[in-house]
């Protein structure tokens, strides 16, 4: 079946159609073209022509001209619109013009670096020119590093490697830094939150080093569609940047369908599992030879859907999983299989959302709303290339956010994509990078690193014996190597490895797990799922950061409970309102896994429990909190009040992401019936990332609006006394949970209507 046939087949399927909340038929678009630039090196022109490229897309030409005019440039590009040519053309042209010119490419992941390398390599081979292009990252052989440092024209790396492996050793890279003409930063939209704030500081350090060696590179950024690509890129590179967002690439017609699984339990408002529904649709597509990608929201769901699909597929259909934690060569193999057509379907986390080249797919299925509008479009865009017709189906889960989106398709289709927030001047992050920068080059009197208060921070570091001030300069004065202590992504240097010991005498590393996920995913006896196979953790060597697993065949998976404790460190702002006070500030959250459940596949019933004995993990972050005044303690008994608080906190975590434009996993909540800090019943909502990414601050500003929407949502929720999509299920918030939450909200909102 082709896509057209599938479309009419679906339209004639009443049970399918009855669950459709929206079916948008998005029109295709003709491409806009421009002549090859006249000043482009004739060798490059010839190679382009040999590859059938007689003309450029209009945005490629504009990008080329701006960049050649020495303007920092950001190009906004949907998937498959030829963004790599936007930067490869000017870069290659400048190297052909002067063999000394150098370029540095930054990609957020190693997979993308590899992908870019092979693309560039093909182009350079056809040019028959000696342009040396290398990836330089943790996987680069030590023996090859020296020659890359000395002779690479184009060095492809990631921000983490630049941070820890290149900048602190800049004297070994003289040739690169003295001649650095272009810095390419692809996928800039992925540099948001804590990661983006770190990367902006790494760029500050890069520019400082370039300045020392007398170079002043031009920055070329490429971004997926977000609301603020210009602002983000400008903050990231600390300079003005030209925005090119008029895309000239043709676009095939696309059907975007919102699918809502049927309600199976009216009292509880529970719908049929979106995981199973997604699997059903995917299975139907794959059986009809339609190449399909299924995006899931977690590694666990990727593995679950993969194993379901494998149980229910014709032999000739080859389906693979893809997620972080797979080893590099395994991922390369899967990417190649998709390009070559040997693999017909892939189940992936958002790891494939970025621009890894996986060739032509026909359909994309989003198992659950990915959390942001920008991600949804990116994921949908992985199907369909060029003018080809494609189909995207989003299957909603019963969570409030998903339900809100599928019930308000206009919100989705008319809303600009989210903005990406970064705060390069976050004090903790800034401080870390000022240390690294001082290690790389002493600071001079009057020198500024992003902020005017640089000198105050330098003095603080001097008082702490990390820097030494002497004759107008601030010198690194400690034995440590600061970059090594600072991770750009939360705790990535603390990864644990998962080792398969199924066969005696052999052991094989099959995956990695980050520090914060250890207590919930690889505790003793946990079921760890990899490539659809189940493994049981036989031994967790916590100090050695290793988990030994053996393959098992059981019909359940494990799900761990976390006990969370929160302490307030500092309050940044506070407002007193008639029934409550609202604050935001810095907190430390400690999480301890206490026990786990064994959950049966398909039916999802509990079939057993076990204890987890692991140390707690701690995270500093920012939080918004609201405490209730005495009135509520007088009117509600303690237990009822606790249920109401819990209900409201659940509801807020469900609703707030819509207004914060963030992923539901980006925030978390906890309640304290008598908080040690406020001495009152208090609800805390905190950023799930160390240091915080600004969500709590935004929530503090718009909390009235969020509470109001929560109230409106709750009165409309069809469940009787609480469901996972609103205040949480009855067994969590009690029989009166919904009612009391409603009461609480109503009281709080009373008298704030003009707030």
């Amino acid at each position: 079946m082709n896509i057209e046939q599938m479309k009419s087949y679906l339209k004639n399927k009443p049970d399918f159609m009855s669950r459709i909340m929206a079916w948008e038929e998005l029109e295709g678009r003709e491409g806009k073209y421009a002549e090859l630039p006249s000043d482009l090196n004739s060798k490059i022109k010839n190679v382009l022509k040999e590859n059938g490229i007689e003309k450029l897309y209009s945005h490629q030409k504009i990008a080329y001209e701006k960049i050649k005019d020495d303007k920092n440039t950001v190009i906004v590009t949907p998937t498959a619109s030829g963004k790599t040519l936007c930067y490869n053309l000017p870069v290659l042209d400048s190297i052909l013009e002067d063999d000394n010119n150098r370029a540095l490419y930054l990609f957020p992941t190693k997979a993308l670096s590899q992908d870019q390398l092979s693309g560039l390599y093909d182009l350079i081979t056809s040019l028959k020119e000696d342009i040396k292009t290398y990836t330089y990252d943790g996987d680069t052989q030590v023996s090859a590093r020296k020659s890359i440092r000395q002779s690479g024209h184009i060095v492809i790396t990631n921000p983490d490697m630049l941070h820890v492996g290149i900048l602190p050793h800049h004297t070994k890279w003289i040739k690169l830094f003295e001649n650095l003409k272009y810095v390419v930063i692809d996928e800039v939209h992925s540099y948001r939150g804590v990661f983006g704030s770190h990367v902006a500081n790494v760029i500050r350090r890069l520019k400082r080093i370039c300045n020392f060696y007398g170079s002043d590179p031009i920055f070329i950024c490429a971004s997926a569609t977000i609301e603020n690509p210009g602002e983000l890129s400008s903050k990231l590179i600390g300079d003005e940047i030209e925005l090119i967002d008029d895309n000239g690439a043709p676009r095939g017609p696309r059907d975007f369908i919102f699918y809502n699984p049927p309600v199976v339990n009216k009292e509880l408002g529970i719908r049929r599992s979106y995981v199973l529904e997604s699997k059903k649709i995917a299975s139907m597509f794959l059986k009809n030879k339609i190449k399909t990608i299924i995006f899931t929201r977690s590694r666990l769901r990727t593995e679950i859907i993969l194993s379901y699909l494998r149980d229910d597929k014709p032999n000739e259909v080859n389906i693979r999983g893809y997620r972080g934690g797979y080893l590099p060569n395994e991922r390369r193999y899967i990417e190649k299989g998709l390009r070559d057509g040997d693999i017909h379907g892939v189940v992936s986390t958002n790891a494939l959302e970025l621009g890894v080249d996986i060739g032509q797919l026909d359909a994309s299925i989003l198992a659950g709303y990915p959390g942001t509008i920008a991600s949804s479009w990116q994921q949908a865009g992985r199907a369909g290339r060029g003018q080809k017709r494609s189909i995207s189906i989003m299957v909603a889960s019963s969570s409030a956010l998903d339900q809100y989106i599928v019930n308000n398709p206009d919100y989705f289709f008319n809303q600009p994509a989210e903005s990406a927030l970064i705060n390069p001047n976050n004090l903790m992050i800034l401080l870390s990078h000022i240390k690294c920068a001082a290690f790389e080059l002493p600071f001079q009197d009057g020198e500024q690193f992003g902020v005017e208060t640089t000198e105050e921070i330098l003095r603080y570091l001097e008082e702490n014996n990390v820097l030494r001030y002497k004759s107008g300069k601030w010198y690194w004065s400690a034995e440590r190597y600061p970059a090594e202590d600072i991770s750009l992504r939360s705790a990535s240097s603390d990864d644990f490895v998962v080792i398969d010991k199924t066969k005696t005498g052999s052991s094989k590393v099959i995956g990695r797990v980050d520090y914060f996920s250890v207590p919930t995913t690889i505790h003793n006896d946990a079921i760890y799922i990899h490539e659809g196979k189940q493994y049981q953790v036989k031994e967790l060597d916590y100090d050695g950061k290793k988990a030994y697993v053996k393959e098992v065949d059981v019909n359940f998976y494990t799900d761990a409970n976390l006990a969370v404790d929160l302490r307030v460190l500092d309050q940044f702002n506070k407002k007193e309102l008639s029934k409550r006070s609202s604050e935001y500030g810095e907190v430390v959250v400690s999480a301890q896994a206490t026990m786990y459940k064994k959950v049966k596949f398909n039916t999802h019933e509990n079939v057993g429990y076990g204890d987890i004995n692991l140390p707690e993990v701690e995270m500093h972050t920012t939080a918004w909190w609201m405490s209730l005044n005495q009135k509520f303690e007088n009117e509600l008994n303690k237990k009822t009040l606790e249920y109401a608080l819990l209900g409201l906190s659940n509801l807020l975590v469900n609703i707030a992401p819509i207004y914060l434009m963030c992923d539901p996993g980006d925030i978390n909540s906890t309640v304290q019936i008598k908080s040690p800090y406020t001495s009152r019943p208090t609800i805390f909502i905190y950023d799930s990332y160390p240091g915080g990414i600004g969500l709590s601050e935004k929530l503090y500003r718009i909390d009235y609006k969020v509470l109001k929407s929560a109230y409106n949502y709750l009165i409309k929720c069809p469940c009787e006394s609480g469901c996972p999509a609103c205040v949480g299920p009855v067994n969590e918030v009690g029989l009166n949970g919904k009612e009391k939450t409603l009461f609480l909200l109503k009281e709080v909102l009373k008298g704030e209507s003009k707030g």
Binding site: P168, H169, H170, T171, K172, I174, L427, M428, L431, A438, F439, E440, L441, P442, T453, E455, E456, I457, R459, Y460, E462, E463, N465, R468, Y469, K470, S471, K473, Y475, W476, S477, A478, E479, R480, Y481, P482, A483, E484, L569, D570, E586
Partner: protein
């Protein structure tokens, strides 16, 4: 948090009293605890110590002047395990021994060599100079002088200088906008020492001193404490703190001279009480250099004095190959028979005998007997590895071939 409170405080304070932070005229304490003088050049001032050792001075095994005994380009090439395409003239005047003390062992641009010790020959003395920056602003002056010294000499002698001291000095030069010019030869004695003493638990200079060079330090500070001592010194400005670092560095350079001398004497075969392990290593080195005569000589000596069986049999195995190479099969055969008698090295002697009787003497029956014995031995001690499969199939192949040859006859 602490930092935020701190910064809030800073905001309130008037930031104009910067002079307070800058320490004016530094008063150094205990400046006479070691001999030193301030040196200035167009980059500024720094501190220098200088000490002359008469060539009769003995450090460990040797007097300093023993170094010049029979020294020439050839022997230096052997020690360095490299080939140079020129003849060094006036080696004595062209040597520069170098060793640095640093603020960290991790490398990277934030690590500093605060003391650079160099040794060179001057008329009839060994001069050891130590160039010391007493604070960060003295680095440029110190480096300028060190660069001059580096540029004057052809041969650099260090211990682990190839991967540590020299890259660090190079980085410091670049940061001070000076260029580092390469030496004709950098003799890193760590590599030379490892080729002979790899069997020691550690090949650090300290363990070579006690186990090979017959030198014992008293009250030496461990290298890991040195960065901390320096940070303490720049705070307190007390020369007493630096004194042990200076002594430590002096000994390092003196030991470099002795180690160099000892390596030279060994490679010149001037030493007749080497251990069997040392002789075995020398045999291997000669083998790699394709000096088979030298190789056999060292291996024979090693076997002769060997107390420890494992070295003896390793040496015998190598020796039998060398005998084969020079067609002294009767000698080789002796070794194989000895190994069989002592039940050493498993199937190796049987296979060698089988090869010899099959290919050289064409005595297929004897070759067959040895092959069968090897198979039997292998099966008795079989391990469940890939290697077993590989070995057994090779042996079976040999057996079949021999059987065919016997049948033909």
């Amino acid at each position: 948090m602490n930092l935020r409170d701190k910064l809030k405080q800073f905001e309130k304070n008037d930031t104009s009293n910067k002079q307070k932070i800058e320490k004016n005229e530094v008063k150094y304490k205990n400046v006479n605890i070691f001999n030193s003088n301030e040196v200035s050049n167009n980059q500024g001032v720094y501190l220098k110590t200088s000490k002359n050792y008469p060539l009769e001075h003995k450090h460990g095994l040797y007097k300093i002047n023993k170094l010049f005994n029979e020294i020439n380009t050839d022997i230096i090439q052997v020690i360095a395990n490299t080939v140079v395409d020129y003849e060094f003239k006036n080696i004595k005047d062209n040597l520069l021994f170098i060793d640095t003390e640093t603020t960290g062992l991790m490398g990277g641009t934030g690590t500093i060599a605060f003391l650079i010790g160099v040794g060179y020959f001057n008329e009839n003395v060994l001069t050891i100079e130590q160039h010391i920056m007493r604070d960060y602003d003295e680095e440029a002056a110190m480096l300028k002088k060190v660069k001059e010294l580096l540029d004057q000499k052809d041969i650099l002698v260090s211990f682990n200088g190839k991967s540590f001291d020299l890259p660090l000095i190079k980085t410091r030069l670049i940061l001070n906008r000076l260029r580092y010019s390469k030496h004709r030869l950098h003799l890193d004695l760590l590599h030379s020492a490892r080729r002979i003493w790899s069997f020691l638990d550690s090949c650090s200079l300290g363990s070579l001193e006690t186990q090979v060079l017959d030198f014992e330090r008293n009250d030496d500070i461990p290298g890991s404490m040195i960065p901390g001592i320096y940070f303490d010194f720049i705070e307190k400005n007390d020369y007493k703190l630096l004194a042990p670092v200076i002594e430590h560095n002096l000994y390092d350079i003196l030991s470099l001279v002795t180690l160099f001398t000892h390596l030279k004497e060994i490679h010149l075969n001037n030493i007749d009480d080497l251990s069997s392990q040392e002789l075995y290593q020398l045999g291997r080195l000669r083998e790699k250099e394709k000096d088979y005569k030298g190789c056999i000589k060292h291996l024979e000596e090693s076997v002769k004095i060997s107390q420890k069986n494992n070295i003896k049999y390793k040496a015998l195995k190598k020796l039998s190959w060398q005998y084969k190479r020079i067609n002294r099969y009767e000698k080789a055969l002796e070794i194989w028979d000895l190994l069989i008698e002592k039940k050493k090295l498993g199937i190796f002697p049987y296979i060698e005998k089988a090869k010899y009787f099959e290919h050289n003497l064409k005595k297929y029956e004897i070759a067959l007997t040895n092959t069968e014995r090897a198979i039997k031995l292998l099966n008795e001690n079989r391990s469940i590895t890939q290697k077993y499969q590989e070995k057994i199939s090779k042996l079976k192949h040999r057996k079949n071939r021999l059987l065919k040859k016997i049948n033909k006859e």
